[in-house]
C-alpha cells in the first residue's frame, strides 16, 4: 500500500466514523441519512461502471453489457434519490443481505478451519453467529416491529466497523521484501 493509499484510507475511515456518529446521534435524521447514503452509493456505482466501461470493459468480448448495467444502476440510483419516501423494505433487504452473507461465509469458514484442526476456529464461528444474529435483528425490526431505530444502530455499527478496519489496515506493513541472492 502506497503512502497515498494509507492517507486516503485514514481520511475515508474518519469520515465514515463521523457519518456513523451523525446517523446514530441525531435520531430524526438517522433513517433518512441511511436512505440518502444508499441512494448516493447506487449513483456512484452507476458512474463508476460507466467509467469502467470506457476505460476497460469496452475491450472485452461482450463488454457492451457493462454499459447497459451502468446505465440501469445509475437510473435506479437517481430514481431512488428522487423519491420522497423510500420504502423501509429497501434498507431492510440491504442490511439483512449484507450481514447474512458475511455470517454464513464466516460459519462455513469456521467449519473448514475446524476440519483443518485450526485451533481458533471458534472465533470465526462466533463472528459468523453474531452477523447472522444482526441480520435476524434487522429482519425482525424492519418487517415485524417496523422500527427504524435498531436499523439505524445496526447500520451505524457496520459503518464504524468498516472504518476501523480501513484505518487499521492503513498501518499494516504490506510491502513484500525482495532479497537479491
Amino acid at each position: 500500500m502506497s503512502r497515498f493509499d494509507r492517507v486516503k484510507n485514514i481520511i475515508i475511515g474518519l469520515f465514515m466514523i463521523a457519518w456513523a456518529a451523525a446517523i446514530v446521534l441525531i435520531p430524526t435524521f438517522g433513517y433518512p441519512f441511511i436512505v440518502v447514503t444508499l441512494c448516493i452509493t447506487l449513483v456512484v456505482r452507476g458512474v463508476r461502471s460507466l467509467v469502467y466501461y470506457f476505460t476497460m470493459a469496452r475491450h472485452m468480448v461482450g463488454g457492451l453489457s457493462i454499459l447497459y448495467i451502468a446505465i440501469l444502476v445509475l437510473q435506479l440510483g437517481l430514481f431512488a434519490l428522487s423519491l420522497s419516501d423510500v420504502p423501509r423494505l429497501f434498507v431492510t433487504v440491504y442490511l439483512v443481505g449484507a450481514h447474512a452473507y458475511d455470517g454464513v461465509i464466516a460459519v462455513l469458514r469456521a467449519f473448514e478451519e475446524k476440519a483443518l484442526e485450526y485451533p481458533k476456529w471458534k472465533m470465526k464461528m462466533l463472528a459468523g453467529a453474531m452477523n447472522i444474529a444482526v441480520a435476524l435483528a434487522a429482519l425482525v425490526c424492519g418487517i415485524l416491529i417496523e422500527s427504524t431505530a435498531v436499523m439505524v444502530y445496526i447500520y451505524g455499527a457496520g459503518l464504524v466497523y468498516s472504518a476501523v478496519i480501513k484505518i487499521v489496515s492503513a498501518f499494516r506493513k504490506t510491502s513484500v521484501v525482495y532479497i537479491q541472492p
Binding site: 500500500m1 502506497s2 493509499d5 469502467y52 476505460t55 476497460m56 470493459a57 475491450h59 472485452m60 468480448v61 461482450g62 463488454g63 453489457s65 457493462i66 448495467i69 461465509i105 464466516a106 462455513l108 469458514r109 473448514e112 478451519e113 483443518l116 484442526e117 485450526y118 485451533p119 481458533k120 478496519i165 480501513k166 489496515s169 499494516r172 506493513k173 504490506t174 510491502s175 513484500v176 521484501v177 525482495y178 532479497i179 537479491q180 541472492p181
Partner: protein, 384 residues
C-alpha cells in the same frame, strides 16, 4: 493442472532428469503441496501466513476486495498458478488500468519462467518442486490471469469441444457438487459477476476445470482477444509441459549451465512418449489420470510411489526446534522466495497489482515480517 500432473507426472519428469527415487518424491510432493499450502493450514502449523501458495474456496469468499485483499490474492495466484508471460505487453488504444491486468495474463516461456527456474537453481528439492508447479501451470492456465478481472478472465457461451472430427457445444453449469459430464460435454464453471474484481473472475474459474483436463481440446473467445477464436489443445500443451519439466529439472540437477526458454527434452521422453500420450488423451477425471501416471512412474523407476497426503510432514514441522530445516520449513522458504521475486518483477514493471516490493539490499528490511526467515536463509547461504 491437478494431482495427476503436479504429483505423479512431476515424479516421472524428475526420474527422467536423473534424480533418485527419494529426491523425485520430495520434488513431486512439493509441487503438489503448492495446491494445499493455504493460510489456514499455515496458521494451524504456527507458520507465517504470507507463505501461502494457494487460497481455499472459502478463504477466497471471505477475502476482502480492497487494495490489500486484491494484492494478497494477486501475489499468490500470479506467483504460483498464473505466472505472467509478458509484463511489458502492449495493446493499442487501451488505458493503463486495462494494461495492468492485461500484462498479468499467464503463458509459457516468459521471462518470469526463466527467473523462476533460475531461482530454484542450487536450492532445495522443495524449491525445485515449487518451480515445477509454476512451470506446468504456465501451460495449463495460459490466457487467464492470476488476479480477479472480468475484462481478462471472463468467457461467454462461445465454447466448443473438439473430439476427433466432431465439434461439440460445451454446456456450463454452476453446481459444484455435480461432477463434470465428459460424454455430454457438460462442465461446471463459476458464476458470471459483472464486478471487475469479483472473486468469481479469478483465473480460469469462468472456464471451469477445462484447463486442468489433459485430454481436452476446445475453442473459445478469450475476453481480451478481440473476438478472435482461440483453440486450446491440452494434450499437446501438457506434452510440452512435461518435456520442458524434464529439461528444467536436468538444469537444476546440474546437467546444463544455463536455462533456455522454449527448450524441451524430447529425447529423454521419447522412449515413453506413446505411453504418456495415451494417458494424456484418455477422457477421464483426476482419479483415473492419477492411477495411470502412478503406474507409469512405478514402471519407470521400479519403486512404489506413495499416495499424496497433506499430513505427511506436518508432525515433523510442529515438533522440530529447527523449523527452517524441516521439509515444510524448506518449502516455506522456497515459497517466500518465489513470491518475493515475482512481486518484485511485477512491481518494477510499474504494476502495483501484486503489491509494493522493497529491495532489502537497497533499503534495508522494511516490509512484511515473514520475509525475515528468507533473509536469514540467504545470509546463511552467503556465509557458506
Amino acid at each position: 493442472m491437478q494431482k495427476d500432473f503436479h504429483y505423479y507426472a512431476t515424479y516421472c519428469a524428475a526420474h527422467l532428469a536423473g534424480y533418485t527415487h527419494k529426491e523425485c518424491l520430495d520434488i513431486c510432493y512439493s509441487a503438489q503441496f503448492v495446491d494445499w499450502c493455504s493460510a489456514t493450514l499455515l496458521s494451524k502449523l504456527g507458520a507465517p501466513r504470507e507463505a501461502a501458495t494457494t487460497q481455499l474456496q472459502l478463504e477466497l469468499a471471505d477475502a476482502r476486495t480492497d487494495i490489500i485483499g486484491l494484492q494478497t490474492i494477486t501475489r499468490i495466484w500470479s506467483s504460483f498458478h498464473f505466472l505472467p508471460r509478458d509484463l511489458k505487453a502492449e495493446k493499442s488504444g487501451c488505458s493503463k488500468l486495462y494494461l495492468r491486468k492485461y500484462r498479468l495474463i499467464c503463458g509459457p516461456n516468459g521471462d518470469l519462467l526463466r527467473s523462476t527456474v533460475e531461482l530454484a537453481k542450487d536450492g532445495s528439492l522443495q524449491a525445485a518442486g515449487v518451480a515445477m508447479h509454476v512451470l506446468a501451470d504456465t501451460w495449463a492456465h495460459m490466457n487467464f490471469a492470476g488476479t480477479p478481472s472480468l475484462v481478462i478472465n471472463n468467457t461467454n457461451r462461445y465454447f466448443y469441444e473438439i473430439v476427433g472430427d466432431e465439434t461439440r457445444t460445451i454446456t456450463f453449469r454452476h453446481s459444484r457438487t455435480t461432477p463434470d459430464d465428459f460424454d455430454k460435454s457438460i462442465y461446471t464453471c463459476s458464476l458470471y459477476q459483472s464486478s471487475e474484481n469479483s472473486i468469481m473472475n479469478l483465473g480460469h474459474g469462468r472456464a471451469g476445470h477445462l484447463p486442468d483436463y489433459s485430454f481436452i481440446k476446445y475453442k473459445y473467445l478469450p475476453a481480451w482477444g478481440d473476438y478472435e477464436e482461440f483453440t486450446k489443445d491440452n494434450p499437446s500443451d501438457y506434452m510440452k509441459a512435461f518435456c520442458q519439466m524434464v529439461y528444467a529439472l536436468k538444469y537444476l540437477h546440474g546437467e546444463y549451465a544455463i536455462f533456455q526458454k522454449e527448450r524441451y527434452d524430447t529425447e529423454a521422453v521419447a522412449p515413453w512418449e506413446d505411453e504418456i500420450r495415451k494417458i494424456l488423451i484418455k477422457r477421464q477425471g483426476e482419479d483415473g489420470a492419477c492411477r495411470d501416471w502412478k503406474a507409469l512412474g512405478e514402471k519407470m523407476s521400479g519403486e512404489e510411489i506413495p499416495d499424496f497426503s497433506i499430513e505427511t510432514y506436518q508432525e515433523e514441522y510442529l515438533t522440530s526446534a529447527d523449523k527452517d530445516g524441516t521439509f515444510i520449513g524448506r518449502f516455506i522458504l522456497a515459497a517466500l522466495a518465489q513470491k518475493s521475486m515475482v512481486t518484485n518483477k511485477i512491481y518494477r514493471s510499474g504494476n502495483r497489482l501484486a503489491g509494493l516490493s522493497v529491495v532489502m539490499n537497497e533499503k534495508g528490511f522494511r516490509g512484511i515480517k515473514a520475509y525475515i526467515a528468507l533473509a536469514r536463509q540467504i545470509r546463511k547461504e552467503g556465509e557458506k
